[in-house]
């Protein structure tokens, strides 16, 4: 899964669960959120708008997959 591969770079050997809070495990710095948005936009061809910026949409692998699904289906 592409999101998991991308996150692997930041989280190394740590095994993230789909529902685990990626901001809560203490691996990421101030550039990470921006890199994550860029990755999602480039990889999945969607545009993240200010209405999507809620942390809840990026908190876990599962939440990001839902956001991408929602944006792709035009929701």
């Amino acid at each position: 899964m592409k999101i998991r591969d991308f996150l692997g770079r930041f989280f190394g050997d740590y095994q993230l669960r789909d529902d685990e809070d990626i901001f809560g495990v203490g691996f990421v710095n101030s550039l990470f959120a921006m890199q994550l948005v860029l990755f999602i936009e480039k990889e999945f061809g969607i545009t993240v708008g200010n209405e999507d910026l809620s942390l809840a949409n990026f908190r876990s692998i599962g939440a990001m997959a839902e956001l991408i699904e929602r944006k792709r289906s035009g929701g």
């Binding site: 710095n29 550039l31 921006m34 936009e41 993240v48 910026l53 809620s54």
Partner: protein, 387 residues
């Protein structure tokens, strides 16, 4: 998307070339000749923003639909190289303006965009970016300025310091804590409760018209928030600073070029021990170092530009890398140029002593050298799988 300066479709490459040529001519005609006087006086000409706006230089990251004249990241970089070689203070003022315009273009509501972007593109509204505080610099998440909910809006309390263009800007992107979370606000000059105190010109970027902002029960409507609560640092400021670092990286390439040009000119004409000093091998060594640094800094900035063009997340670290290298190399080039010019380089009004002072500031703004090292090292360790 791509990074902010490439957000909207830009003109085809041949038009970009013409654009670049026109911008370069304007910078050489209007900006470079005044740079030393601006530095000495510690201020920019009053008419500068509108003049730059007329020439399209205030709308480089504003979408065409909002009156901007956007350029691709490489053209953007090359314009900033030319600005950096001419007048680092003008470049810094345009960079913070672009940081605010890009943040609005990326994260603001359609109403906020329609309100601000056309005026910003014309240079009628100059933007400034207000993150740093008297007690908070590198550790941005520790900001103390507070936006307290009050009626339908907010009341701001706190101070921002070292704000480039603070003396002349019309619109401030201000980072404050809201519900304990870092949040961005757009606050126009003249809002009751906001007072602006000019700062004396600092070591470098003397003409960048820095100010301290004081908010005392500064009441603003809810609609002046930019992006949702909590997105102020990770999204709004992070993207703005990323663009700022890209501008600084290219500005430093320009500074190194200006140092090299001044040093080689002098080395050809200054005769000591019966020969032009360029014939002394120790002088050649200094010139070689500058020439190599110029090439390396430009290549790193180009590499960052190409990644930004395609919206690649690796563009973020490539930009830190370019900024880090170029700022250090500019500082080194500034010292070297002053050395080669000798006393002439130290003289009041000599451009090379200005380059040296401006280069020092580049090692501090948009994330100091040490903070860039932390980010670059973290990335390197992650890539090696050790974190």
């Amino acid at each position: 998307m791509a990074l902010p300066e490439a957000q909207s479709p830009v003109e085809p490459p041949e038009n970009q070339q013409q654009r670049l040529a026109r911008c370069r001519a304007l910078i050489e005609r209007e900006i470079r000749p005044r740079a030393d006087a601006c530095d000495a006086e510690g201020r920019l000409p009053d008419e500068l923003p509108v003049m730059l706006g007329r020439e399209g230089l205030c709308g480089l990251v504003v979408p065409e639909g909002q009156g901007g004249r956007p350029v691709d990241p490489i053209t953007y970089g090359l314009i900033h190289e030319q600005l950096g070689a001419a007048c680092a203070a003008t470049r810094a003022v345009l960079t913070v303006h672009d940081m605010v315009a890009a943040a609005i273009g990326r994260w603001a509501s359609p109403e906020q965009q329609a309100d601000w972007l056309p005026r910003m593109a014309r240079g009628e509204t100059l933007g400034a970016f207000a993150l740093t505080e008297p007690e908070v610099g590198s550790d941005a998440k520790a900001i103390r300025t507070e936006a307290v909910r009050s009626g339908d809006g907010f009341s701001l309390h706190g101070s921002k310091r070292w704000i480039t263009a603070g003396q002349i800007a019309h619109l401030f992107l201000v980072l404050a804590r809201c519900d304990e979370k870092p949040t961005a606000f757009l606050i126009p000059r003249g809002t009751p409760g906001l007072t602006i105190e000019p700062l004396a010109p600092p070591l470098g970027l003397r003409a960048a018209m820095l100010a301290e902002l004081h908010f005392a029960d500064c009441r603003i409507p809810a609609g002046w928030m930019l992006g949702p609560v909590g997105s102020g640092l990770n999204h709004v400021a992070a993207a703005a600073l990323d663009l700022g670092r890209y501008g600084v990286a290219w500005g430093c390439v320009g500074l190194i070029r200006a140092c090299l040009e001044a040093a080689t000119r002098r080395a050809r004409t200054r005769v000591q021990f019966d020969v032009p000093i360029r014939e002394h091998q120790l002088i050649q060594g200094l010139i070689a170092e500058m020439a190599v640094d110029l090439k390396a800094a430009r290549e790193l900035a180009m590499a960052a530009g190409r990644l930004r063009q395609s919206g690649d997340p690796d563009g973020v670290i490539a930009t830190c890398t370019a900024k880090y290298f170029a700022a250090r190399a500019a500082m080194h080039a500034g010292q070297t140029a002053v050395q080669i010019l000798g006393a002439e380089g130290c003289a009041a009004g000599s451009p090379v002593q200005r380059y040296l002072r401006d280069a020092k500031v580049m090692e501090i703004i948009e994330g100091s050298n040490q903070l860039q090292q932390v980010m670059i090292a973290t990335d390197a360790l992650q890539r090696q799988g050790r974190l």
